[in-house]
Amino acid sequence: AQSVTQLDSHVSVSEGTPVLLRCNYSSSYSPSLFWYVQHPNKGLQLLLKYTSAATLVKGINGFEAEFKKSETSFHLTKPSAHMSDAAEYFCVVSTLPSEGQNFVFGPGTRLSVLP
């Protein structure tokens, strides 16, 4: 069985500073990894996904994540935070097939961006 840990329940950054949201996973097999974002009162949106191609994955809105097998991590980063980035972020781990119960969400990290 796979699991995912998001080390910080809440991260606060100033506008214009870098963002780092941490995610570690546990999986018996080569995983697929995803990040989703949930803005207040809006549906979840896929930010990016890793499915065994390039280890550095670029997503929407300037976010990127790097798959590090040796560290079992898939941290989400952005060079410069914007006020509109304030939201809840979910890391997801999945083993093949990436469907159904194999798709496991982490508990989420709430990102606050201060002016």
């Binding site: 697929s32 009162n41 549906g43 996904k49 979910f90 999945s94 990436s98 469907e99 159904g100 798709f103």
Partner: protein, 112 residues
Amino acid sequence: GAGVSQSPSNKVTEKGKDVELRCDPISGHTALYWYRQSLGQGLEFLIYFQGNSAPDKSGLPSDRFSAERTGGSVSTLTIQRTQQEDSAVYLCASSVRSWPQYFGPGTRLLVL
């Protein structure tokens, strides 16, 4: 509409009553998921439909929960004899892939 829609957006019910939650996926999407999100928690998988295959019901928490998907499109999640611990936001997602691509805004259920 262009996205996944869910109805009602909010539902308040009394303990012991049955409720039905509806999900309209994006047209042509073969995969449909239901999740439950409790306050401050991650998403809990409930059920997964893929085309004409038998649904993956492994996440349904009890036999009070059931779901169906008619004609490969609209899905209904039914909760019988609701309990206070059923209070949560119920999310639906659809996809042309196997993994959830597009989520609806959710139905917020409150059981009094």
